[in-house]
């Protein structure tokens, strides 16, 4: 069944069809519609879930952590300041190995107050142990919610799917909502081996000395490595079942190219239009859309870099005192393999400023000569 829904509602439907059992959420612009829609699903008995209307995002994640530890599929959604407030509990969810799934609507951080998009909120949570999926459109938001539960429950880590404020969160487009029976077949009920259960008197997360802590961290890194494979394989299975295949990186017209453009989020769809136009003009350029940021798809990126002689990264984010974050990560992935490819790092569209086709074409043109680590595009 196709429905015309916003990116936000696509997230709500994703939580519903994934049969999230406990939802704990706090409102923040531009995420509000996600939790409003879930509230109406629960109120109308369309969704069999306990919905805790918590008093803060910190409590939202704490409640999700508690529910997940007790063996339930838990869901929340937030944005920007709310995600930052959750920070401590993001670590808790990952370190406790709990597969909570959350939607984060990418909104720039204040001050000054802003509600428009950039990626600094989610990228600031880079090292918390959460998988991060950057979605391009509403269908992907819906599809990724279902996949995220399957992947996260397999590897025992939480997952965040990210959608751009307004550009995606508030834009309506048709989304195919698959039959619940098929979704249930794809994503069976969550039943973890260890949970809070009076017949099994485990203590979870107790004081751990240096004798064991280190190994527990190694296991999280191993789970992330497993996640790389799991994302590919679940994405492939999803394709077989529902007709839409997903992976770590979406390669758009990457055959026979000398220049690779790297983008993420909804802006990548603008990038695709630019690629089409340039390819029609005979230019050998393709686009790599980074769908997954954590775990970082190093091998895939290296493979893509093998056949090109120039890489251009457009970052809607910045690590202050350094450079664009996707750019940094990509360069670091290449360092031990392909050190001589020039990589150009552009910062664009912070705080929701439009990144138009003209901008992208301009950046591609400017990426020439000695590469620079940071080029501010369109600075007034």
């Amino acid at each position: 069944m196709k429905k015309v829904v916003t990116g936000n509602y696509a997230a709500s439907y994703g939580a519903k069809v994934s049969r999230a059992e406990v939802v704990a959420a706090y409102p923040i612009t531009p995420q509000t519609q996600i939790v409003e829609k879930i509230a109406s699903f629960v109120a109308n008995n369309e969704m069999d879930a306990e919905y805790i209307k918590v008093e803060s995002e910190h409590s939202a994640m704490a409640a999700c952590v508690g529910a997940s530890a007790a063996g339930c599929r838990a869901y929340t959604a937030t944005s920007a300041q709310g995600l930052a407030l959750m920070h401590e509990m993001l670590h808790w969810a990952a370190n406790a190995r709990l597969p909570v799934v959350m939607a984060n609507v990418n909104r720039a951080m204040g001050p000054p107050w802003t509600v428009w998009t950039d990626q600094n909120d989610s990228l600031s949570q880079r090292d918390t142990g959460w998988l991060q999926f950057y979605c391009e459109n509403s269908q992907e938001v819906f599809d990724t919610t279902i996949q995220a539960y399957k992947i996260c429950e397999k590897i025992g880590l939480p997952g965040m799917l990210v959608l751009d404020a307004f550009i995606l969160s508030h834009t309506s487009e048709p989304v195919e909502i698959y039959d619940q029976d098929r979704i249930d077949k794809f994503l069976p009920k969550y039943n973890p081996r260890y949970k809070l259960e009076p017949s099994e008197t485990h203590a979870f997360g107790g004081l751990t000395t240096p004798e064991w802590y280190y190994e527990l961290r190694y296991k999280i890194q191993s789970a992330m490595d497993e996640g790389l494979k799991e994302i590919e394989s679940v994405g492939k299975d999803f394709g077989k079942m529902f007709g839409r295949k997903y992976g770590l990186i979406e390669k758009y017209r990457c055959d026979d190219i000398d220049t690779l453009l790297v983008m993420s989020g909804s802006t990548a769809s603008t990038g695709k239009e630019v690629i089409d136009r340039l390819r029609d003009n005979g230019e050998r350029i393709g686009l790599a859309r980074m769908r997954v940021f954590r775990p970082f798809p190093k091998q895939e990126m290296r493979k893509l870099a093998e056949d090109v002689n120039k890489i251009i990264v457009i970052d809607r984010n910045i690590s202050f005192g350094n450079e664009g974050i996707f750019f940094s990560e990509l360069k670091s992935a290449l360092y031990n393999e392909n050190t001589d490819i020039p990589v150009y790092g552009f910062i664009a569209g912070l705080g929701g400023r439009d990144i138009t086709m003209k901008d992208i074409e301009g950046m591609i043109k400017k990426a020439d000569g000695k590469p620079k680590d940071i080029i501010w595009w369109g600075l007034k």
Binding site: E21, E50, S56, A67, A70, C72, M89
Partner: protein, 295 residues
């Protein structure tokens, strides 16, 4: 004499509490009251340590260790999970006074306002004891702590957390003391009978932080109640009931046993006595007033 305290021990040997720890006695009694079908959520507090290091736990119930300010919110999540699974398991949030009066008050207020089905027990040792005796908002007026040195002792009164919880109009709020285990257990069992958020605050003296002989924990605890400094009472659906009416000890007798008050002069002690008398009087009037409205 009939023993009213359940015999089953759900707190095992080998716990890491200090000698004379009021907090460990409090847990032992609480679990006797709650029984095996209980899940404990414990934020950062002495009990993060007392329970035992990985892979050990001295409790014969499942324990979820959580972040400092999340006893109530994580317990809300566990409680929601029990509800959706159709289980009757009791969810116990077990936190110290710092985790309750200070950093966890927001989450607790949220859970109480929503009426999430949890029993929240605050074992009150009147300071951040696990981090080494720093003042909390539960620290009483006049007390020495490492952050309120004797020369500049704690000048603010203890926050009245019990009344804050009563103001949430939750079904059941009570104070308790480890020196009165029958009363404590009776209150926990009563709390278990209510749906919604229940709050019990149990005085759990800390010999390390209060500076007294660990052998005197029970004696001192009794004195806290007998002097009216820590009155035992319960508030059931808005109706106050004082559990122990006799007030036959003085503030002076209570504080002279504790090194944390050893710097106090007679004047300050007199002032403390006046405040205790005033609070006691107020409590009696509340009992009369609300008892009257009941009729």
């Amino acid at each position: 004499m009939k023993l009213t305290i359940p015999g089953e021990e759900l707190m095992g040997h080998g716990n890491l509490s200090c000698q004379g720890c009021g907090g460990s006695l409090a847990m032992r009694y609480a679990l006797k009251a709650l029984g095996r079908d209980t899940i404990a959520v414990i934020p950062a507090c002495c009990w993060s340590i007392i329970d035992g290091p990985f892979p050990y736990s001295c409790l014969k119930i499942p324990v979820f260790h959580t972040a400092f300010e999340t006893a109530a919110s994580a317990a809300s999540g566990v409680s929601a999970a029990m509800k959706i699974k159709g289980k009757k398991t009791t969810v116990l949030a077990w936190a110290g006074d710092g985790g309750t009066f200070d950093i966890g008050i927001q989450a607790l207020s949220g859970a109480a306002e929503r009426g999430d089905n949890i029993i929240y027990i605050c074992y009150d040792n009147e300071a951040y004891m696990n981090t080494g005796i720093q003042r909390s908002s539960a620290t009483p007026y006049g007390a020495w702590t490492t952050t309120t040195p004797a020369k500049k002792f704690k000048s603010a009164p203890k926050k009245n957390m019990v009344e804050i919880m009563v103001a949430h109009k939750i079904p059941y709020t009570a104070t308790a003391c480890i020196a009165y285990p029958e009363d404590f257990i009776k209150k926990i069992k009563k709390a278990k009978g209510f749906q919604g958020t229940k709050y019990i605050q149990v005085l759990a003296p800390c010999p390390t932080g209060w500076r007294y002989d660990p052998a005197k924990t029970i004696e001192l605890s009794k004195m806290a109640v007998e002097s009216g400094i820590y009155p035992l009472y319960e508030v059931e659906n808005g109706i106050y009931k004082i559990s122990r009416k006799a007030k036959n000890k003085t503030v002076k007798e209570y504080i002279k046993m504790q090194g944390r008050f050893s710097h106090l002069t007679g004047e300050v002690i007199d002032e403390m006595q006046k405040n205790v008398d005033k609070e006691w009087e107020l409590l009696i009037r509340k009992e009369e007033f609300y008892g009257h409205t009941k009729e």
